[in-house]
Amino acid sequence: MCGIAGRILNSPGNVGRDLVALMEAQEHRGADSTGFAIYTIPRDTGYVLRGMGFDKTNLDADMADFTRVLRDTGSDFLTEPQILQDTSAYYCFRIEISDPKDLSAWIADADTLSNRIEIQSCGRSLEIIKDVGGASQVADKHGVRDLIGTHGLGHARLATESSVLPNASHPFWARPFSDVAIVHNGQITDYFTWRNRLERQGYQFLTSNDSELIAIWVSDQMKNGLTMDQALRKSITSIDGVFTYMIAVPEGIGFAKDRFAMKPIVAIEQNGELAAATEEQAVRRVFADECDVINYDGPSLTGIWTVGNSELAA
């Protein structure tokens, strides 16, 4: 039982604040960890990386090796890396880099360091912030309420399929596809079957969390020519388990729900803006008025919500 949320604004605004409110309302669905995927104002060039290093006593050595790998591919820091440390053994970072010559190749190189330092999101606008603890705790630590953007996802995790670790928290980035993030409520029962297939194609999995699989699975389908709508529909019959997931890209958010209708999702759409969540009482934190809520209670459902006039529904 996890809690998921999505939020879309018509123009860049307090999406971080709203997602924190949506997740605070759903903290009882999973207090192991909380995470946010925020689509900030997109950059024309360069990428923002979010991630963590697992041993802060190795911070200097980690960063030195990370810098070497980065510069080897023709990229460099655009600003000084921001490092966040507290009493935890791990540290978190936010880094802005210029475009590598080949993004996928650079990510593969950087992942050779993933036992020490892990990139958890990469995008022109996507920033994934996740940590152990409840919504307020994570939001306070990482300043999530101050993040400005157009849309994003939130997740409260009750760990069922993998460990309670900051890096096993949601959202998951669809490595190595930039600006794609996912949140998921459910269990995927044919996880290893699909993971083996995708690994044989060269995809890299950094956790044993089944949600990471969905992120890469959907992105791979889209890479192979399916629209998001087609990929979402295909996931319902291809992936086994009980699930409701939301996947975000720069143009909007899509969702899919399994054949058994076991995991809830409701949404309020008003004047082109959206709040979606596992529970209706959460979306009421954003839309307090008694406006109409849409209950996506049935089985085998998909949907796409776009940002502004973005084209995604085709």
Binding site: R259, E279, Q281, E290, N295, D297, G298
Partner: protein, 230 residues
């Protein structure tokens, strides 16, 4: 009987429910305002209590009801009236998944549609839905009636036990081990008698009455493949 107004907002639900129970003890009608779809409102209400919810409620509203009358103006979340043994719950809009799950008695009246598994494992009572009942409604219903006036979704009445699902309108598909039978005029009169107090009686309806085919009652694990739906 004077009316008491109870505000929900972001108050702790335990505190709100205690206030509701206190008002019930002195026999006052209760109006719940600003409910914001919060969960577990009005659970375990005593006989004779009267509650009116302005707006929508969250999960388990009216669960374990033992004889109270609840009116919800708009939507109810998942499992409204779960395990209720008596009383009446009226929902003005939509009822989420598992409305009336495992209920043992009383009546739930939904003016809109319901989500999946309406009346799942119910053991008595009646659920009357003016709209469409969702996927797999009536799943393993042991007793009682689900009456849907606006059709039914897929896998209707799947694995029904001794409950009955009555439908007018389109049925997307029926579930496993369902038998559709022609109701007798006495049985139709019984259903009309349930609908009449709600102003829903219409003798011209063409009913489909679904009952168990009883093949699953004697389930043999070696035949399991015959029951796979997906």
């Amino acid at each position: 009987m004077s009316e008491v107004v109870i505000e929900v907002g972001q108050r702790p639900i335990r505190e709100v429910n205690e206030e509701i129970q206190e008002a019930c003890k002195v026999g006052r009608k209760i109006r719940i305002v600003n409910s914001l779809s919060r969960h577990n409102l009005g659970v375990g209400l005593p006989p004779g209590a009267e509650l009116h919810f302005e707006g929508s409620t969250g999960y388990y509203c009216g669960a374990l009801n033992t004889g109270a009358t609840l009116t919800i103006e708009r939507n109810a979340g998942w499992a409204v009236g779960e395990g209720m043994s008596d009383g009446m719950i009226t929902i003005g809009g939509y009822a989420g998944m598992s409305a009336g799950a495992a209920m043992m008695g009383g009546t739930i009246h939904v003016k809109g549609d319901t989500g999946p598994r309406c009346g799942v494992a119910m053991k008595g009572g009646n659920i009357i839905v003016e709209g469409k009942i969702g996927y797999q409604s009536g799943f393993m219903a042991h007793s009682g009636k689900i009456i849907a006036l606006g059709g039914a979704g897929d896998s209707c009445a799947d694995a029904l036990w001794q409950g009955e699902v009555w439908v007018t309108g389109d049925v997307d598909s029926v579930g496993v081990d369902v038998k559709i039978v022609e109701p007798t005029s006495e049985e139709v009169a019984e259903v009309d008698a349930l609908l009449d107090p709600l102003g829903l009686k219409d003798t011209s309806r063409d009913w489909r009455k679904m009952i168990s085919g009883q093949r699953l009652w004697y389930f043999e694990s070696r035949d399991a493949n015959a029951w796979l739906m997906i």
